[in-house]
Symmetry: C2
């Protein structure tokens, strides 16, 4: 089938319309303008392949879009993928799924956007399920005879042949496809994020520590637990309430349960006075006991969930009912945000905890579309609510999708494998998503401290004790280490906040998987050194088809552009780390490493391996018990690592409002130079327009580690 | 939408045509006539519900068929289901899947046929994927307010609400739906099997012991290993060869590798002389090195698998090429059958080991249809080949579907959980399928002997040592027990063979899950006594939604109508057994039990709990090293259990041909009566038409156990 012409919409972005796309899509639902200015400043690039190498055909009433692949190309992305990072060779069935235990592509946050390490990406903007065959299909005409080997005797036989195309199954009605150029992978992702409006800038308090209390706690129990944080010297900014705050749950009422929370307004106010924000859990299904029920009933889908309505929030009148109730009963009394649970239910893995694909909604959407869009709908509705008050929010969501980079939400899961949770930080970074490896409980002190270390270097540092009643100090033998890392996060807030500001302005994610900073060749070299012989496990019950998965370096990641985090999990005392080229220091050990190779590091329980790039400037502050109110003067320490001159940027604003969109924010250029006498000179260049409360900058030069004990 | 009229096609069977069904379906592909005579003898029953309670609507271009459910009704079937037996409350996505690790309904053998414990069943005969919402959807109009509970405080809250309907998603073009009446569940399944042509009667040797040798064994190694069976006094009837017999594999050639098998004909003949049949592994994908390649190439699908062709065997000319080659190179030299592997590849879980759903085939079928039908196609082609020679075959297949009850194939899986493997025996019985819990290797001697005990009481007693090189005597500490149970299987062959003859004639499966012999009330009573409080695990990381699964009694099953098998797995020394009403004896212990309740039994490694119903007659024979050639006189011992008079049936024929279809077979009525002096009198009534070699019947009356040591 001849392909409709690709149309260039911005530097390095091309659009192809297939069929006659209908209804809402992630991009149209978000309704956010692209960050044109930043896009215009990106390099002009050519399309990654000749247009005639892209083919379109119809099959079984659907469209199949075929795009070329080279032999060694790796494909990342496709949303949050907890089970693998490189999707090459896999078919990704991009259906939202709340229980994604098998490696099918199903996930809490499917995004039909793959990013090639060759420096381009392909996104299908649709509300329907897309299946992406990421080099997992071979056609007769692709066959290269010399590659067909005999498994019986040829040691070179591989279970997964190398395919030469991606085949994307586009929904029957069609879809809009975007192609993003690079030249680097980082620029591909940046273009995608900028086209979707840029990255989110959370409120500063959102980057502090979060604690979710047991579901049936009363206001007094919450206040007492909050007090324990202060008494025990554990920072905490946000307290999350779980289902028990509702008068009815599963399905929910969105109304305060008066026996546990007789005076919600004064409860929220009292916590605010102590420096805590309140976050409220909810899910989409409306109880007959809710005041909203009668109004939403005619605006809901044919099917119920837990007996509750599944409202059609693509209808403005339904959204208005939801927003009005939330504004009056939660936001006006000071609630800071939401945890949006179970908008990702899977009809397949989770019984009846979701409406079926064939459910019908008053707007004309069906269950498949509504499921794929539900998480985005709740994010957008709640974000708009807070925006209308000129207050930023930050919260949690269990389902997301495309075009979500501006949303102030972090993904989480009921799964709980620590390695998968680390991989989530990596995989989310390719698709405009944020992920928290939340801590809930642990098998032992080692498991506890390892999980806590990871979560402190993630988009949201949270203990979710809703069901297990844990506290950060639950394992006394590691209490000091846990406190240390929560405080280290507080100290690094100026650095983290700047990384998010870069996300917002340039679309570059604050947390990045290694392919953002390594070339395909560097990754291939590191893999080759560690590759196991695929044959060694072939023909056994354990591995009938041989070893399936090469090491992907999906267990380490960048935080901003200067820190590399390589967590350990329970049972490990050492690990391999792939360090990019250059000189690196152990952030807390001061040990010096030459990068561009794989190193092996040891770390006892008191330590998570974090590396800082020589030639970095890390802005830090004191480890307060919570983020101070806007206007509170904040001392900044700028720590220069290594011996060379360098530059960096630092961002600040009021930390709470959207005034930065009107330019009320400060960007400083930091630099370290060396004068002719060999003295280091630090410069802090830029103007504080009054939005920042940073002051009293001190410098530390030529450091190799943080000297953490000084400040503890 | 008004429903097209239901049409009665046989006693207790109604047909509904929805839309305009196209293309081949399991039933049309099999082309087997219903067993009308047996169907006519079944009871006339009324439809299970008023026709107006069945609704049909269109949604998203598909049809949704809605059928009523009562509150406590259980739904079984939907094909081989390894993860649960009762599908009530679950959505079953009935896609063929080679790696069905999650409980979605995907399976090696999806059959869109659910069987209600209320005595009816519903089957959709289509080559497309069907989604059955088995009481997992609730519509607004179904909502019963009094059932919506508050999870926060109401202990009666349940994660899965009780739904009042099944919703079946029918393919866009439509499908034919069959409704089967009972009145009992057993009769529902019998009607389904009879409509599909009745059950398969394997050759007698197929019920002996099977051993598959390591994949790269040469003819000499195979012969030596076969000899070891005789030397070690382990019965064995079939030797299976794995991929290494092909000149090329993955993709395959179907041609003998001359370096390992220089003289296939004499190799097969030599094994035959020693009492061994040869079974050949194969998969569907044709190597460019195969002589078949050139002819099949234009008759194949657009996509390749492992570089091999995926032929369109719905085309008679393609099937003829396949059959001619197989006949000439395998069957004419004495090969007894096949193991049909990888016809169930999943594009989702297994990379590129299957063509995609959008693949196109010359007949007009697409990849979805071909995947759902592939296993059935290979079964039918190979069964027809042997039938044309008037030789029965018996083999293995990894994919199956509807209308498969006449097929001489047993399902298997690369999965290896012993509990799941036991459940497979149970779940397969509802859908006209057979399943083997094959043994491959073990963690230790206990695991080994427990798996061996189970497999000896299954449709195919097989050790599959293709990758691990195990032998039945691999664990010397349990060698005696393993030998004992393989020999016990040989002794029970007349009983087993009769159970299969009943399957063939009456459609009643030879292996049956407990709902075949227990009423819903009996099962509910047993469940209630053992039910765990669903709340006890609620609100923890382990069980965020509470305990998910009630005990289903899916770990014990009937073999024929007299034996109940309750396997143990590694780590267990005792277990609960739900015994149906009546008196039961431990088959080998002689212990007497009163049924109609749950008992607890102990069993050391030397013992698998098997129970025999008082008032049964078990026909037995000697434990030979293999099934003797037709015409070899065979002594039969009839063992009467208990003290009451009773009757039973015994079947025999030549054991190898289809002559029984022309009536060359013998059915005997056995009876035990008690004369006025209190003596037992055994009667063996019926005629041997010459097809049977059974002779010299001896009786043992009023037994409580087998006295196995007598004959060993």
């Amino acid at each position: 089938m001849p392909i409709t012409k690709w149309e260039q919409t911005a530097p390095g972005i091309w659009r192809l319309t297939i069929g006659e796309p209908q209804g809402i899509t992630p991009l149209t639902w978000m309704g956010v303008a692209p960050k044109d200015e930043a896009l215009q400043q990106m390099p002009q690039v050519e399309p990654p392949f000749a247009w005639d190498r892209v083919q379109l055909e119809e099959a079984g009433g659907r469209f199949i879009l075929s795009l070329p692949l080279n032999r060694t190309e790796k494909l990342y992305g496709t949303g949050l993928q907890l089970l693998r990072m490189n999707q090459r060779g896999r078919t990704r069935f991009l259906r939202v799924n709340s229980d994604p235990k098998q490696d099918t592509g199903e996930t809490h946050a499917p995004v039909p956007f793959y990013v090639s390490d060759q420096g381009y990406g392909v996104w299908v903007d649709t509300s329907r399920i897309v299946t992406m065959h990421c080099g997992s299909t071979l056609k007769q005409e692709d066959r290269q005879h010399e590659e067909i080997r005999d498994r019986n005797t040829d040691k070179g036989w591989k279970a997964t042949p190398v395919a030469s195309r991606v085949e994307i199954q586009i929904p029957a009605e069609g879809a809009v496809v975007y192609l993003f150029g690079g030249p680097t992978l980082s620029e591909v992702v940046a273009r995608y994020n900028l086209m979707c409006g840029g990255g989110v800038l959370p409120p500063k308090w959102g980057l502090g520590f979060w604690h979710r209390v047991p579901t049936l706690y009363s206001d007094q129990q919450v206040l007492e637990e909050a007090e324990q944080f202060r008494l025990n010297d554990f920072p905490c900014d946000v307290i999350g309430l779980e289902p028990g705050w509702h008068s009815h749950s599963y399905p929910v009422s969105y109304e305060w349960e008066k026996s546990r929370f007789p005076e919600p307004a004064s409860f929220v106010k009292e916590l605010a006075q102590k420096g805590f924000r309140v976050n409220l859990w909810e899910h989409p299904y409306v109880s007959p006991q809710s005041e909203l029920y009668a109004g939403l009933q005619p605006l809901s889908g044919t099917h119920t969930v837990w007996g509750g309505l599944a409202p059609d929030y693509s209808l403005p009148e339904a959204a208005e009912l939801y927003k009005k109730q939330h504004e009056e009963q939660h936001i006006q009394i000071g609630v800071s945000g939401y945890k949006l649970d179970e908008c990702d239910g899977s009809e397949l893995t989770n019984n009846s905890w979701m409406f079926p694909a064939h459910a019908k909604f008053p707007s004309g959407l069906d269950g498949e579309q509504m499921r794929q869009m539900y998480g985005l709908m709740f994010q957008k509705m709640t974000a708009d609510l807070f925006r209308s008050q000129n207050r930023r929010t930050f919260g949690l969501v269990r389902a997301s999708g495309g075009a979500a980079s501006t949303m102030p939400y972090v993904l989480y899961s009921d799964l709980y494998d620590h390695k998968q949770f680390i991989r989530g930080i990596c995989s989310a970074s390719f698709s405009g998503l944020l992920w928290t490896p939340e801590v809930r409980r642990a098998r032992n002190a080692e498991d506890w401290v390892r999980r806590m270390q990871t979560v402190c270097f993630s988009p949201m540092a949270m203990l979710n004790a809703w069901g297990d009643g844990t506290k950060p100090w639950s394992f006394p033998e590691v209490e000091g280490t846990v406190r240390h890392y929560i405080k280290l996060r507080m100290k690094l807030l100026p650095y983290l906040y700047t990384a998010f500001a870069v996300y917002r302005e340039l679309g570059i994610p604050p947390f990045q998987a290694m392919p953002f900073v390594l070339t395909p060749e560097e990754i291939a070299d590191a893999e080759a050194k560690l590759a196991l012989d695929e044959q060694q496990l072939l023909n056994t019950t354990d591995a009938a088809y041989g070893k399936k998965k090469a090491r992907e370096w999906d267990d380490q990641y960048m935080v901003g552009d200067a820190l590399l985090v390589a967590p350990l999990v329970e049972g490990e005392t050492e690990r391999e780390v792939l360090l990019p080229a250059g000189i690196w220091y152990g952030l807390e050990t001061g040990e010096r490493y030459t990068g561009g190779r794989v190193i092996r590091v040891q770390a006892g329980l008191e330590h998570i391996p974090v590396f800082v790039k020589s030639g970095s400037i890390i802005p830090m502050t004191a480890a307060l018990s919570h983020v101070p109110a806007p206007g509170t003067l904040t001392e900044i320490e700028l720590v220069h690592f290594g011996t060379e001159p360098c530059t960096a940027r630092l961002y600040d604003d009021d930390g709470e409002t959207y005034d930065y969109e009107q330019g009320k924010c400060s960007w400083w250029n930091l630099s370290v130079t060396i004068d002719q006498d060999g003295h280091y000179i630090g410069a802090w260049m830029g103007e504080n327009d009054g939005s920042s409360s940073y002051q009293k900058v001190t410098w530390r030069f030529a450091q190799t580690h943080l000297l953490m004990n000084e400040q503890q």
